[in-house]
Amino acid sequence: MATQLKSKVNYVDTIGFGADVGGRGFHIPIDLSIRPDGRIFVANRSPAHRKGIRVGICDINHGWYHEFGSDGNGDGQFTGPTAITHGPDDRVYLADEELNRITVYDPDGEFISKWGEKGSDPGQISGPSGLKFTSRGDLLVVDHLNNRIQRMTADGGYISHFGTSGTGEGEFNLPWGIDTDSIDNIYVADWQNDRIQRFTSDGVFIDAHGSPGTGDHQFNRPSDVAVDQDGFIYVADWLNQRVQVFDGSWNFIKSLRGEATVSPWAQDYLNANADEAEARTRFNSLVEVDQGAPHEVSSKVESYLWDPTAIEIDPEGRLIITDSLRHRLQVYQRSNE
C-alpha cells in the first residue's frame, strides 16, 4: 500500500522558454495534458500578448512539434483558456472560461467541434476551469462559477452534477483543477476554500484536506491536484508558490519550491545572445531575498516556482508542473526509498 512506502521526490529537468508571440516556447502556460505517447500539450493563457495564446506541443526530451489555436472566438480559437485534456478517443479538449465553451480538436490540433452554453441550469456552464475524463469516458467539468462539478458526455451532453456554493463538505468556493485516481475517485482543488476535496466516482464526499495558511498541510488558493498511479497526491499550492506532496492518507511527504535550471531552449537563446550569456555567468538565480509573501519572493528568484497552476503525471510517473509566470515546465520524479 502506498502509504507504507517511504518516498522521495527529486527535481529532474526544466522544459521550455518564454515565447510571448508564439513559436517554440510558452507564455503563461496555464495547463497541460500528456498524450499516451508522451507528447505534452501546453495551453498558454498569455492575455497581454494575444499572439501568445495557443496550445504548444512538446515532449519530455525538449522536442518541439507545433502549435495550434489562437486568440479569438472563432472555431478553434479561445480567449481565456483554463484547462486542456485528452479524451479516450485521442481527441484534445480545451476549456475556455471566458467563452464558456469546450473546444474539441483532433490529435494534430485541427478543430473538430465546440460546445457549451453559459448559464447555471444543468448542462450549462459558467467559467469552466478544469477537465478530466473518467475511466468510463465521461468528462468531468469544473463549472467553477457555479461551484459544481458536472459530468458530461464527450460531446457536451449532460449526465449529472454535484457540489454547490459554500464551505461545508461537498461545497465549493471557486474550484479550479481536478483529477481522478486509479479507482476513479475525484479530487478537486477547492481554490478559495484552501483545501482539496475528495469524492467517490459518483460524487459522494470522502474527505477534505487542508486549511488556510503557509505550513505543511496548509494551502493558499490551491489551483490543481494530481494523483499518481500509487495514490500519491500532488497539490499546486498556488499562492504559496509551491507543490505539496502527500501519500494517499494525506501524510506529508515534501514541499517543492522550485529548482529550475536553464533548459536547452533557453540555452539556445543565450547562445545566440552572447552579451546576456556573458552577464549570466555572474547571475545568481538563487539570490537570498528579503522576507515577504511567497509571490514576491518568487518574483525575485528565477529558479523558484512562480504561480504554479497545473500538475500532470506522465506515463513514466514523472511530475510535470506548469511554472506559469516563468513560462516553463518543471519536472520532478517520485521514487520509493
Binding site: L239, E276, R282, V287, E302, D307, L325, H327
Partner: protein, 476 residues
C-alpha cells in the same frame, strides 16, 4: 488657521472629497456631511483599504496582472485599487508621489518593479519624509531609473544625487554642484542584486528566457565611498542615510514639499522649474505646512492634515480651481458608475483612456513628471475626456448607473421640475457647481423630456451625459 467644528456644508464636503478622494458618491457625501470637518479629514487621512478587490482574484482572472510585466497589466492593477479602495486619499497620495518621484516603466520595462515602488508609497507615503526618502533611495525601480547601479566608488554617476536634491526634496537653488557630487558619493554601492544581468535585460528589453526577475536592493560595501564628505555645510563620512538626514532638516526641504502639496491639493502652482525664481502663490499655507513638518518630525500626514484644515484649502476660491488630471477623471467617473467589484476586461480600455487624455500611468513624460494644470486640456484630450465620461455615465447596463439614476429621480421627487431634476443630478454627481448659464441650459434640456413628471432612465442618463460634458466637470 481656523477649524470648522460644526456640521459641514455639503459644498465644502464635496470640495474635500474632490481633492482628498476622487470625488464623492452620494453615500460618501452624505456620510461626511454628518460629521465634523476635522473628523472627516482625519477619517480620510487614517483610512485603511478594506474594499479593494483581492489580489488573488485579480491574478486568477488577469494572469498578466500577476507578473505585471507590461504597462496595461501594471497600470490596470493600480486602477483596480483606485476605483475600489475605501482609503482613496492613500491612492491620491500615491499619485502625488508618482508625479514627484516620477519613475517610468518605459525605461524599466518590467512593471513588477513599478508596482513594488507603488506598494512602498502606499506604506510610507503618508509617513515621515526621511523614511520615505530612504525607502525611495533603496527602491530598485528608482535605482535603475536614475542609473545608480552605475554610481561607483571613484567613478560617480550623479543622476540620483542630483535629482534627490533638485526634484525630489529641495529644489534648485538650495545646494551647490559640489553638494550633488558629495551626495552622489554617499550613495555609491546602493544598487540591485545581480546588477550586470539586470541592467542588461532592461537594456535589451527581453522577457527571455524566463520572464523578468524582480529587482532587489543591495548595498555593496566594496563599492561604497566611505571617505569624508562635505555636504550642505556639514562634514563627515556620510552614507546615504546621513545625507537624507541632513536634507530633511533643511528649511528648503520643508518648503519644497509643502509647495508640492499645495500645488497638488489646493491650486496649480507655476511649473516646478520656475519655483526658484517666483515665490509660492500662498506663503501662509506653506508656513502652516512647514511648521507641521518640523513639529511632527517630518510627517507628511501632519503637513497634509494642516493643509486640509487650513482656510486656504477650505476657501471657496480653491473650489474647482484645478483641472482634473486624466486619471482623476477616469477613476472618479468609474467610482460613480460602479462595476469594478469583480474582474473586468474593461480595465485595459479604461487605463488606455487615461493615456489618450494625456496621462499614461507609470510612464511620466520625464523625471519632472506631468506638468498638469491647463496642460491637461487640448482639443484632442477634451474630446477624449468628454467621450469617456459620457460613455460611462450614460451606460444603463451598469448597475451603478441605474442606481444613480434612481437616486436622482427619488431625490428630485415625483413630478419634479426640470430645475429640480438638474439640481439632483448635479448633487449626485458629486455636488458639482455650474454657472447660471449652464444651469439654465441643462434645465431647458430636461424640460424637453417626453415625460417630465417621471422622466425615463434614458432621459436622466442623457442629462448626466450632458453634465459630464460641461466645463465644470473638468475641474476638481
Amino acid at each position: 488657521m481656523t477649524t470648522t467644528h460644526a456640521r459641514i456644508d455639503e459644498s465644502l464636503v464635496a470640495h474635500l472629497l474632490r481633492r482628498a478622494s476622487f470625488g464623492g458618491t452620494t453615500e460618501e457625501l452624505s456620510h461626511f456631511s454628518e460629521i465634523e470637518y476635522e473628523t472627516a479629514v482625519d477619517e480620510l487621512l487614517n483610512a485603511r483599504d478594506t474594499m479593494s478587490i483581492p489580489q488573488d482574484i485579480i491574478r486568477r482572472y488577469h494572469v498578466d496582472m500577476s507578473d505585471l510585466r507590461t504597462r496595461p497589466s501594471s497600470s490596470g492593477n493600480w486602477l483596480y485599487h483606485m476605483v475600489n479602495t475605501d482609503a482613496p486619499l492613500v491612492e491620491k497620495v500615491n499619485l502625488f508621489w508618482h508625479r514627484i518621484f516620477a519613475t517610468g516603466q518605459t525605461k524599466l520595462i518590467q512593471g513588477k518593479a513599478m508596482t513594488t515602488q507603488l506598494d512602498m508609497f502606499r506604506e510610507f507615503g503618508l509617513g515621515k519624509f526621511d523614511e520615505l526618502l530612504l525607502q525611495l533611495s533603496k527602491n530598485p525601480a528608482m535605482i535603475m531609473w536614475l542609473d545608480n547601479q552605475d554610481n561607483h566608488k571613484g567613478s560617480i554617476n550623479e543622476n540620483y544625487g542630483r535629482e534627490i536634491l533638485e526634484l525630489f526634496a529641495m529644489g534648485a537653488g538650495n545646494y551647490t554642484e559640489e553638494d550633488i557630487k558629495e551626495c552622489s558619493r554617499a550613495f555609491t554601492g546602493w544598487t540591485v542584486e545581480n546588477t550586470d544581468y539586470m541592467a542588461l535585460k532592461m537594456r535589451n528589453n527581453t522577457m527571455r528566457p524566463y520572464g523578468y526577475v524582480n529587482w532587489q536592493f543591495k548595498f555593496d560595501p566594496e563599492d561604497h565611498d566611505d571617505g569624508e564628505k562635505i555636504f550642505l555645510g556639514e562634514t563627515g563620512n556620510f552614507n546615504g542615510e546621513d545625507v537624507i538626514a541632513i536634507i530633511c532638516k533643511q528649511p528648503a526641504t520643508a518648503g519644497f514639499v509643502a509647495r508640492h502639496l499645495y500645488h497638488y491639493f489646493v491650486a496649480d502652482e507655476l511649473p516646478v522649474p520656475q519655483w526658484p525664481h517666483f515665490p509660492p502663490l500662498n506663503p501662509e499655507a506653506i508656513k502652516v505646512m512647514t511648521d507641521a513638518y518640523f513639529e511632527s518630525g517630518y510627517s507628511i500626514k501632519a503637513m497634509l492634515r494642516a493643509l486640509l484644515l487650513s482656510d486656504s484649502f477650505k476657501s471657496e476660491a480653491a473650489w474647482n480651481a484645478r483641472v482634473k488630471s486624466p486619471i482623476e477623471l477616469v477613476v472618479g467617473t468609474l467610482r460613480l458608475a460602479g462595476g469594478y467589484d469583480g474582474p473586468t476586461h474593461d480595465v485595459y480600455g479604461h487605463i488606455a483612456s487615461s493615456s489618450f487624455m494625456g496621462q499614461d500611468i507609470y510612464a511620466p513624460p520625464s523625471v519632472e513628471g506631468w506638468m498638469g494644470g491647463a496642460d491637461w486640456i487640448s482639443t484632442g484630450s477634451m474630446v477624449q475626456r468628454v467621450n469617456f465620461a459620457s460613455d460611462i455615465i450614460g451606460d444603463l447596463d451598469r448597475e451603478g448607473i441605474v442606481e444613480l439614476v434612481e437616486s436622482i429621480r427619488a431625490d428630485a421627487g415625483e413630478g419634479a421640475s426640470p430645475e429640480s431634476l438638474v439640481q439632483a443630478s448635479l448633487k449626485h454627481l458629486g455636488n458639482i457647481q455650474v454657472s447660471d448659464q449652464v444651469n439654465e441650459g441643462l434645465a431647458e434640456f430636461a424640460s424637453n423630456f417626453e415625460n417630465t413628471v417621471r422622466p425615463s432612465n434614458e432621459n436622466i442618463a442623457s442629462l448626466l451625459q450632458l453634465i459630464v460634458a460641461t466645463r465644470e466637470f473638468q475641474f476638481v
